[in-house]
Amino acid sequence: MHDAHASRAGETSVPLTASAVLVNPVGLHARPSVKLTQCAKGFAAKIEFALAADGPWTDAKSPVKVMRVKAPQGATLHFRVTGPDAEAALAATLALVHDGFGEA
């Protein structure tokens, strides 16, 4: 479902990356967007995501920007995370997507 091992860097300045497929039926609509931003805000790391591996990147901590992506079910969310708690942040956000934001 996701490939958390895709990139593992020892240096915090190098972004950790991984991707996960949106499984919940309605995609990244309002409620999941709120959950994603709330989750992201719990970490110091810079957390971004995109629908393609090369961006454009969206700040996962911005509820308005996350909703504007309008990611549909089946879309792959690529995450790019930088910071001291990047590993935990990536694991938490991937888990949220993987679990369909508690909806699926």
Binding site: V34, Q38, K41, P63, V64
Partner: protein
């Protein structure tokens, strides 16, 4: 009208219609949760469509947080009455209440989401106002 014990920025919803204000508050509670102080007010003093300063002051009091309060309004009078209510607050509180230039329903959900992450009043306002950006 409901609130919660929290140091997060409080959210006040002001609509001409009490049903809209209450409904928007329901959306905030269901989507964002209970970690944000929240209050709503709507209708004039006779129970018709409109807003009233006393009701807004009461809502600000209910949603009060040391981090401040962000007020989301719908049209004209809701904004001017909210500004009047802010002016009537004790001086030490006045600077910690802002009226957001954002759509009332969407703005309330976004502002509450931002607040739930522990953001500052300025960040909460900025995020809500991104809707018109």
């Amino acid at each position: 009208m409901n609130s919660s014990n929290s140091r997060n920025v409080g959210i006040v919803i002001v609509s001409h219609s009490p049903k809209i204000a209450e409904g928007a508050a329901d959306m905030v509670r269901q989507m964002v949760g209970n970690v944000v102080p929240l209050a709503w007010t709507g209708g004039d003093v006779d129970g018709g469509l409109g807003t009233n300063v006393a009701g807004i002051l009461e809502a600000i009091e209910t949603a009060w947080s040391p981090a401040g309060v962000a007020v989301l309004v719908d049209l004209g009078g809701a904004e001017t009455n909210s500004e009047m209510a802010v002016e009537m607050l004790p001086e030490d509180r006045r600077a910690r209440v802002v009226v957001c230039n954002a759509p009332v329903v969407e703005g309330a959900v976004i502002a509450a989401t931002e607040s739930s992450g522990g953001s500052s009043l300025a960040a909460v306002k900025r995020s809500a106002e991104e809707f018109y950006a």
